[in-house]
């Protein structure tokens, strides 16, 4: 017996909110990507907890896929950041206003 399942859910909820706040409120593109990583991590935490709660392995398998998606997302996201930094010389999200009328 470790802890109630609800405590794992609350921990993941706090982590997800922190990741969302980081992704919304920061201006640096790298910090926005870090916020997305924190959100994916909290989702993985919920899956592992639920896998133990119902004693099924499916949750742990889904965490492997979350890891895959996170790795792919981070590779493409960082390549996009490098590409846009090459074009504009900045990683500040507020600077990308070329389409502004």
């Amino acid at each position: 017996m470790i802890v109630p399942f609800s405590h794992v859910l609350l921990l993941a909820l706090f982590l997800f909110l922190m990741g969302a706040a980081c992704a919304v409120a920061r201006r640096n593109l790298i910090m926005i990507l870090i916020g997305v990583e924190i959100m994916l991590n909290s989702a993985a935490l919920v899956f592992v907890g639920a896998s133990l709660r119902w004693e099924q392995l499916d949750g742990q398998v889904l965490v492997i896929f979350i890891l895959t998606v996170a790795a792919a997302e981070v590779a493409v996201g960082l390549a996009l950041i490098v590409s846009s930094h090459r074009r504009t010389g900045s990683v500040n999200a507020d600077r990308y206003n070329l389409l502004r009328g």
Partner: protein
């Protein structure tokens, strides 16, 4: 409180504290370092919740590979620290804060009211061999799709990362 419970709350505290420190740093490189602590703590929670293979994967893939990638980019781009969070008007912040607090309250109520969540977790564990057998017996097709996803991400990264041809050089070649 059992020993495992104490360890869980300790790890949860480390996790939340390092994540808060990570998202409030002004320098991206400090945020990355704090995030490594956060991911290692998550890996230990995975171990506590009976997933030793996922704990190893978390440390290897998240704290190792992904964070090293972030470090490379932070060092490569020479980013000047930007200012703090956006100084937007309260009229812009208010809806976000109200909706966020509302969803947080609903989520907390759901977590506490649902009878399935009060169930204490047992100390079980699923070894890597068991997990691998289950993965390739029941989920072999998603594994193939995931490998395609990685391949496509690799191709996309190569496409985005290639050097753009300078227009001057192209013109020089055309004039020859």
């Amino acid at each position: 409180m059992t020993l495992f419970g104490t360890i869980f709350y300790l790890l949860a505290f480390i996790l939340v504290a390092s994540t808060v420190l990570a998202i409030t740093r002004r320098q991206a490189i400090h945020a990355v370092i704090y995030l490594i602590i956060s991911f290692v703590a998550t890996g230990m929670i995975f171990y506590l919740l009976g997933a030793p293979f996922l704990a190893a994967l978390e440390v290897i893939v998240y704290a190792g590979a992904i964070m090293v990638l972030f470090l490379f980019i932070v060092m490569m781009l020479r980013i000047t620290p930007s200012g703090g969070p956006r100084k937007a008007a309260l009229a812009q912040w208010a809806p976000a804060i109200i909706l966020g607090a509302g969803s947080l309250m609903i989520a907390a109520v759901m977590v506490f009211v649902d009878p399935a969540t009060g169930h204490p977790l047992k100390t079980l564990r699923a070894g890597p061999a068991e997990l691998g057998r289950f993965l390739f017996r029941e989920y072999w097709f998603p594994v193939e799709i995931a490998s395609f996803l990685l391949l496509i991400a690799l191709v996309g990264t190569l496409y985005l990362g290639r050097q753009e041809k300078k227009p001057g050089k192209v013109q020089a070649k055309e004039s020859l």
